[in-house]
Symmetry: C2
Subunit: 208 residues, 2 copies
Amino acid sequence: MQHDFARRSNRDRTEATRAHLIAAARKLFTEKSYSETGTPEIVAAAGVTRGALYHHFADKQALFAAVVEQEAAAVAEEIERASPPSLFAHDALIAGSDAYLAAMRAPGRTRLLLLDGPAVLGRAAMDAIDNRHGNRSLREGLVAAMRAQTMTRLPADALTALLASAFDRAALAIEAGASAEDYRAVLMALIDGLSRAPHPAPRPVRTR
Amino acid sequence: MQHDFARRSNRDRTEATRAHLIAAARKLFTEKSYSETGTPEIVAAAGVTRGALYHHFADKQALFAAVVEQEAAAVAEEIERASPPSLFAHDALIAGSDAYLAAMRAPGRTRLLLLDGPAVLGRAAMDAIDNRHGNRSLREGLVAAMRAQTMTRLPADALTALLASAFDRAALAIEAGASAEDYRAVLMALIDGLSRAPHPAPRPVRTR
DNA sequence: GTGTTGCATACATGCAGCCTGTATGTTAAT
DNA sequence: ATTAACATACAGGCTGCATGTATGCAACAC
């Protein structure tokens, strides 16, 4: 027997176990809620024991953070796929907005990323995750629009955070059954309200 | 002895005990977090036993809901005090915005109302509370501005929710140490972006 | 008016079940 | 042989409920 199937390298074992745990936790955290999901349930779904969990993660929160990170990355990837950099700034913003709202329709994502995430990890940690993933492209789009003079010049970080929060709230409302058209219309009106005529700059505008 | 001090009517006892429990819970929920605060700690601070708690409240969540409700009412009251109905719609919006941001500087309020509240009670229940208190005046202000033709006409519920979420996020960012001026500037820009010249309408503006 | 009787309210105490984190033991990789 | 990757057992704490007790309260008798 040259190679035994049960014989795996430690690196593979770690990788597989972590992946199983994250996948099982993701499923449960999106179906129920963080506090309603116990570690016994998670490890049962992952086919391991609680010993494995606490070997790979410091605590339940750390596992949750890993799930959130992965899910935020998935959302960001869906957005970037929908808004290629070839588009003009304004069009890319629109495309990205719709992609975000579509991505957040995945069951349980809003609770995971928008309710439990901030409450369990704190707004600061959640901001760090968002800035590594989703908000990054939003911020870049806004800065591009401001540089192209098609948008009122404003503090980029604050503008990004506030627009992102409006998108978040829209996703929550839509999942709760509100009119997607209404919320989309308001989001677009907010963006358009910050927009200005593209090239000619009709009259000198005060920069600050 | 006409009246015995130890002798209280049942109604008084109930009122006092509930008030003590809510006050103690409010203090702890604003200092720590919902999940980090145990019922033994709450009842100790309130000077009663867990039996009293579970006699007056269905569970820990119900007590939390009562605290949130009270705190939301307090915030709403601060706002209404700062934005009397005598002001013009736009000015009332600005005054109300500043009053909200000031009210949310009370220690722990952002976590209670903006992080734990939605996560523990759910966005739907939280919306119901907000609509009974703070959001009410915001919505009325927006509707007034739209009726006065000084603001783009948009679905009122969606607009209220999205602007409110932007205010919430601003309050969180400011508490986290971000520049209050930056966030205030962006909030004003968002509102101004939706505003239009009051009476003469200098040049025709595209409605949509 | 006063005393008594019966019931509901307002708790206090103790218990059962669950969950989290850790410490210890065991097997397999290196 | 040493270390990593687990499995198992344990300790502490917390929530919700069930049971017990004292007090308020209303009605009726006298």
